[in-house]
């Protein structure tokens, strides 16, 4: 696999096909955990980490267990179990070895299990026939795209609180409209590609 191929996967995952703004994966934490900038950063980093690891492990599980024994139809069940176990392990590991990061991430860590971006990246890796390295790159850069989106969004939303808007739009609806406008600006990246 050439470097340019990997670069174009990375560019696609971060900007052109951003997980949130063009694929709608991971919207729940994106909308739920973006009220404050610092928690948004924590959530973004945690998701990036889990997405990278989950891509690697689900690829291995798929290649060496499911495909080998002809069990591809069990993908959804196997992947969600792998992800749930992985998140649980990371939680225990962080608690023992990096308590400061653990407390910073707090409740967001267990919530990652139900983040559709994580299961989504595992399934998309299989669908696009990526090899191991491509899967890991796609997972990590997809997570970085999520981080970028949630940090930008949280920064806008912090200012939104002080804005004067119609009563019925307060809170969630105006956040969705904001996200829509951000998705519009991310459309500007479409057509961007790496020559190679």
């Amino acid at each position: 696999m050439s470097i340019t191929g990997l670069l174009s996967i990375a560019l696609g995952a971060i900007l052109v096909n951003n997980f949130i703004f063009s694929q709608f994966l991971g919207c729940c934490p994106f909308l739920g955990v973006s009220k404050k900038l610092d928690t948004a950063v924590g959530m973004g980093i945690a998701v990036t980490f889990v997405m990278g690891l989950a891509s690697a492990i689900t690829w291995i599980v798929n290649e060496f267990i499911l495909v080998k024994f002809g069990l591809e139809f069990m993908q959804t069940v196997a992947f969600i179990l792998v992800i749930a176990a992985l998140v649980q392990f990371i939680e225990m590991f962080l608690q023992k070895s990096m308590p400061s990061l653990y407390t910073a991430l707090g409740i967001y860590l267990p919530l990652i299990t139900t983040n559709c971006a994580v299961l989504g990246v595992a399934l998309l890796n299989i669908q696009s026939n990526y090899n191991f390295i491509e899967s890991v790159v796609y997972g990590i850069t997809g997570g970085l795209g999520f981080l970028l989106a949630i940090v930008l969004f949280a920064a806008v939303r912090e200012r939104n609180v002080f804005a004067d808007c119609p009563k019925c739009f307060e809170g969630f609806p105006i956040a969705l409209i904001t996200a829509g406008l951000m998705a519009l600006s991310f459309m500007g990246f479409s057509g961007l590609s790496v020559w190679g």
Binding site: F21, S22, Q23, F24, L25, G26, C27, C28, L31, F73, M74, Q75, T76, V77, I80, L81, A84, T113, T114, N115, C116, L119, G120, L123, L124, Q127, P166, K167, C168, F169, E170, F172, P173, I174, A175, L176, I177, A179, G180, L181, A183, L184, M187
Partner: protein, 210 residues
């Protein structure tokens, strides 16, 4: 258990998407044509009802600590069944919904209802809850689809009527193309939730003014 009340809650006052704000991802992602919305809505309705029934039935023998893992396994099982059935009998739908069918596993509506309702109530009530919440979800999907399809590309019933092309109600050049893009999903859903907040706040205001 009051089924009429449950129905009203699922549909309006406690609508899963517009009031509980669950299951946003799929709501915005797949509502580009009427057929997609209907298929996704029915798939979620079936999975939600079945998983609610099973979870309510086993709620007394599942230890509290591993209940979330149990829920996920039950839900993932049903999602796999529905996924395979769709692939076998409605391949066109399976194709256009793509990765969002397996992603029903992590749809917050199903896990949310399992935790908030099925784990605390009997089998029959949970089944009714599944059906009501599922219908509430489907209706929101259909409204989104109709708005986005009609204003975006000027057709109605795409993928279903008129051999898949849909009935043309507005000439093609007048469509607001942006509504069919991801941007439209965010904005239409935002406006719908705002409308819902406005509608739910109105009776309260009347009482206050009295």
């Amino acid at each position: 258990m009051n089924f009429g009340k449950q129905f009203k809650e699922g549909l309006i006052t406690n609508n899963p998407v517009l009031v509980q704000l669950l299951g946003m991802c799929s709501t915005m992602a797949i509502t580009t044509s009427f057929f997609n919305g209907l298929g996704m809505g029915v798939a979620v309705l079936v999975i939600l009802t079945l998983s609610n029934i099973i979870i309510a039935a086993i709620r007394k023998i599942v230890p509290d600590k591993i209940r979330i893992a149990m829920f996920i396994v039950v839900i993932a099982g049903f999602v796999t069944v529905v996924d395979l059935i769709l692939k076998a009998f409605v391949p066109a739908l399976s194709e256009s919904l793509g990765v969002f069918i397996p992603l029903i596993v992590v749809n917050c509506i199903i896990l949310g209802r399992a935790e908030a309702f099925a784990y605390k109530n009997g089998v029959l009530a949970s089944a009714v809850d599944g059906i009501c919440q599922g219908i509430g979800y489907t209706i929101v999907l259909l409204i989104m689809c109709i708005i986005r399809e009609l204003l975006g590309s000027g057709t109605f019933g795409g993928g279903l009527l008129n051999g898949g092309a849909g009935l043309r109600l507005i000439p093609e050049q007048f469509g607001i193309k942006i509504l069919t893009l991801p941007v439209g999903g965010f904005i239409v859903l935002g406006v719908l939730i705002a409308a819902m907040q406005w509608a739910l706040a109105r009776p309260k205001k009347k009482e206050e003014s009295k």
